[in-house]
Symmetry: C2
Subunit: 219 residues, 2 copies
């Protein structure tokens, strides 16, 4: 089974690596990191270099496609990547996204008329593409489309998809191997749970958090 994980300049590394770590650990899965051209791209946050191993034109099919988001998403809403998604999606078993990766899926047209998750700050943008934002939902299945909310939700999405691909036992094996028994030291992971001043500043910083590579100035 082939897993294709998309990369691009300004991707959020954890959007890609979360589902990769889960799905790429499953027996029988071969992973390919695909992007505009072979070689490293630079991720958001601190500029992590992630390597594209196959150019888009070198991968014409995949069983599972994962499209991450990140500040670089805004430059991927047309052109080669969305064309590639349309083509590969025609034969995929599952087409998935994390965070603002659902905006790229939306731009490719494959989510038209469907419900999807995205980063909590990107819901309006998603709806402008004719996709219903599943507000407050972390992982959304709609047909063969599986979309995750912001960044870390890709791990939960990966596990849910692992359950579909390999059954509960396989997903549990990976969960235990990754010791995924989360215990966040703070309880601010959603706009419902975070303190109002944190949510307010995140809303003000929205363009920095989602679409610009400049750092937010909140420290």
């Amino acid at each position: 089974m082939r897993l294709a994980v998309v990369l691009f300049e300004g991707v959020t590394a954890l959007d890609a690596i979360g589902p990769y770590e889960v799905l790429g650990s499953l027996p029988g899965v071969e992973t390919v990191f695909v992007g505009e051209e072979r070689g490293p791209v630079r991720a958001s946050a601190g500029g992590a270099g992630l390597v594209v191993d196959a150019a888009l034109g070198e991968v014409d099919s995949a069983d599972v496609v994962v499209v991450p988001g990140g500040p670089g998403q805004a430059r991927q809403m047309g052109g080669a990547l969305v064309e590639w998604i349309r083509a590969v999606d025609a034969g995929s078993r599952w087409t998935a996204s994390v965070c603002t990766g659902s905006l790229i899926l939306a731009a490719s047209g494959v989510l038209a008329g469907r419900r999807a998750a995205t980063h909590w700050l990107a819901g309006e943008e998603l709806e402008r593409w004719g996709v219903e934002h599943a507000v407050g939902e972390r992982v959304v299945f709609d047909g063969k489309y599986v979309t995750a909310a912001g960044v870390s939700a890709g791990i939960d999405m990966g596990l849910a998809l692992a359950g579909e691909l390999m059954g509960e036992f396989g997903a549990q094996m990976v969960q235990l191997a990754l010791e995924y028994d989360p215990a966040p030291p703070f309880d601010a992971g959603s706009p419902e749970k975070a303190p109002a001043e944190v949510v307010g500043l995140a809303r003000e910083s929205r363009r920095f958090l989602l679409w610009e590579e400049d750092r937010p100035g909140w420290a």
Copy 2:
């Protein structure tokens, strides 16, 4: 503030990228990925390429050092990396590890006589290095040493450390930006919670899960 994240062949990508995504997102933090030589290393699971941007000899200090684990850890228990850790640790503010990265810290000597977390299958190995395994603990602070349990625990460790570095508000901002409100679809993330047959097979597959790059054969 400089964050140095160690990479090596056979690293577990999420061990490195989890804390990177949290700590590298903090304002004022500059991240460097450091390893034996510049260029990509290949991670476990599906061979993700992660780029080393500075050779060990090019980085002589860091405020925060993060040492990940992974199947390649076994080849890092002596030599250049442990020497580098000893040297950089002398001036670090925090020295941290994820998963079997604590074994590398142990081999460098900096954890001697301390308590530390590690992957739940690696506790005995950790104790052989004269370090007390904090059984069942996900993130352990002992002085300036911060160690996380297996793989995904690095995200919780990153947030705890973000709280120390920037205060609760800064950590909450990052948590909300990463939408880290985990909701695993299964409850098998620790040996206490996973079904007995899953735990049993993980114990049998221990050398594959932790120390070999071959895939486990449990599917």
